[in-house]
């Protein structure tokens, strides 16, 4: 394989984006708890909520430990307290949900602005630049060579490419070819867009294998039981 021809910073940035995306994907189940710790942990609503939950638990335990008939007044006062606590807890819960929803929305916005959009912009800007060249252009058919070199758009343009190549044998259509991005090169390179696609697919396949081999619980073979003869 040829040396890498792409600028190091582009490759480095691309790898960083891919690593961050994968990290966010693997830790998706923890995001909510992280958000709650960082954003809600210090808020008054959350502290009130936790203290009222604790108080509710204590009052419930006290009510369970006394006889309603023998200590009717205390039991009823506890019930009144529990009703009020339940109403307060419900209100605080909705406040916290609102705050949490806002924080999650903020995280989504940060992810969009800090990761998705820049990554997309990078792919648009540098997506057609070649990361490295293949040693020979005879490894793959022309369709594949064009796709590796110019990206997925080549697949859509391939019928036109094929037609023009046939017509070119009879007429000079170089003026068309110059306007349309058709692959005519002799060297086959892997563009950044295709390289990103290939890398994420390989990572996905590795994830699948590891998940299947090590993270999926084994299912024991069912054992046939003999029916008792009547």
């Amino acid at each position: 394989m040829s040396d890498i021809t792409m600028e190091k910073w582009v490759l480095g940035t691309t790898l960083m984006f891919i690593i961050i995306t994968k990290f966010l994907q693997y830790t998706a189940s923890y995001h909510e708890s992280w958000i709650s710790k960082f954003t809600l942990g210090s808020t008054t609503a959350y502290k009130d909520y936790m203290s009222k939950l604790h108080e509710q638990k204590l009052v419930q335990e006290e009510n369970h430990s006394i006889s309603a008939q023998d200590n009717y007044a205390k039991w009823t006062k506890n019930n009144r307290k529990l009703d009020k606590l339940a109403a307060d807890i419900k209100q605080l819960k909705s406040q916290i949900h609102e705050q949490s929803a806002k924080s999650q929305q903020l995280l989504k916005t940060v992810k969009l602005i800090g990761l998705t959009l820049p990554f997309f912009a990078l792919k648009m800007w540098k997506g057609k630049e070649i990361v490295y060249y293949l040693p020979t252009n005879k490894m793959f058919p022309h369709l594949f060579n064009g796709t590796w070199h110019q990206g997925w758009l080549f697949v859509a343009m391939y019928p036109l490419d094929f037609a023009l190549s046939q017509i070119n044998n009879l007429y000079d259509v170089s003026f068309i070819a110059s306007k349309v991005p058709l692959y005519r090169g002799t060297a086959v390179g892997v563009s950044l867009g295709i390289w990103i696609w290939a890398l994420t697919n390989v990572l996905g396949s590795i994830e699948f294998v590891i998940n299947q081999l090590f993270l999926t619980p084994t299912v024991s073979e069912p054992v046939a039981t003999e029916k008792k003869a009547n």
């Binding site: 309603a68 200590n71 009717y72 007044a73 009823t76 006062k77 019930n79 009703d83």
Partner: protein
């Protein structure tokens, strides 16, 4: 036995009140609600002879007639022996059903009786709105109010105070939350009609069913009633119970529900008390045991309802039926029962059998 309470343990302030227009008497489980409501009505009528009082039962299983020993119906009639107390027994749910059936059979609002008939709109709107919590109670109640108004027009005199012997179901006053429910519903309606516009009318069949207009009207009516019922000078709720766990538990739930409706409730009548400590002549082990249990709960009531008028009424030797017995019994609402001096009364009830 220490029965000392900071607030007067009687209903004297209510009985002599000149501002109260609506008094509700409620409680569950055969606690003496009808006896209490009849007693309150009688005492008010005796203390304020210049005013007219109406005692109305909305319980489908009426027993006002049994309490007074004379027949009452859905038209108000004066109690025999009293010039300023009338009684009426009305089943609002049945009346409403009759009206609805009539509206359905006629295919339109029955004549031009306004209000509820317009709202029913041939039964269709009743189906639509039947699932709104409180609406049945609101319609029933407005039927009652309309009936009272008709009685006043028929008799040519207005009732200064109306005492309601409410049904034990307890949800009679649920409609007080209706304005809030209807406001939210009307908001949604407004959004839908705003988006769909005239297309909605074409789906509604004959005539123009202005649902949101009718609901607005209902909301306004209920709001007017609600304003009166949440004014503590005009309306109060008297809870009746007995000194037993389940009754007190139900009373507590009722009081909390009434507070949530912003309704004034500051009186509790505790019926069927034995006062066995003061009854040396007629006593038994069973009475002593039950009285001990009742006292236990009485102390708890005192602790829980410090700001309430807690009126303690005795268990009498016989049923309290007929005007004479009710008069004897109802005295203790005005001036609290003293077992030491009033104990003989419980054996003096006339036999109404």
């Amino acid at each position: 036995m220490d029965l000392d309470l900071q607030v007067d343990p009687n209903l004297h302030s209510l009985i002599t009140s000149t501002t109260h227009k609506w008094i509700f008497v409620g409680g569950k489980g055969g606690v003496g609600k009808t006896t209490s409501s009849s007693s309150i009505a009688i005492q008010m009528a005796l203390n304020q002879p210049e005013k007219q009082f109406l005692l109305i039962s909305t319980d489908p299983a009426h027993n006002l007639s049994d309490a007074f020993g004379e027949k009452f119906g859905k038209d108000a009639r004066k109690v025999t022996g009293m010039n300023n107390l009338s009684c009426m027994e009305i089943d609002p749910a049945a009346a409403l059903k009759d009206m609805n059936d009539m509206a359905v059979s006629q295919g339109q609002g029955a004549g031009d009786q306004g209000g509820i008939n317009d709202l029913l709109q041939g039964g269709a709107l009743a189906d639509l709105t039947g699932s709104i919590p409180g609406i049945d109670e609101a319609l029933s109640f407005m039927e009652v109010m309309k009936h009272i108004k008709n009685q006043e027009q028929g008799e040519g005199e207005t009732f200064d105070t109306v005492i309601f012997d409410t049904a034990p179901t307890g949800h009679t006053l649920r409609f007080l939350q209706l304005p809030t429910t209807l406001s939210k519903l009307l908001e949604k309606f407004g959004e839908i009609t705003g988006k769909l516009g005239p297309m909605l009318n074409s789906f509604m069949g004959n005539g123009n069913v202005d649902i949101s207009g009718k609901l607005n009207e209902l909301k306004a009516n209920v709001e007017t009633i609600r304003q009166q019922f949440t004014d503590p000078d005009l309306t109060t709720f008297v809870c009746v119970c007995i000194s037993e766990f389940l009754s007190l538990y139900e009373t507590e739930r009722l009081i909390q529900e009434l507070i949530s409706y912003d309704m004034d409730v500051n009186s509790i009548i505790v019926n069927q008390l034995l006062f066995a400590d003061d009854d040396k002549e007629h006593n038994c082990k069973r009475c002593q045991a039950r009285w001990k249990m009742q006292k236990k709960y009485l102390d708890q009531i005192g602790e829980l309802y410090e700001d309430f008028h807690v009126v303690k009424m005795p268990l009498c030797a016989g049923e309290i039926r007929g005007l004479t017995n009710l008069k004897k019994f109802s005295r203790f609402l005005d001036h609290e029962y003293n077992p030491a001096t009033d104990g003989a009364v419980i054996y003096e009830l006339e036999d109404k059998a």
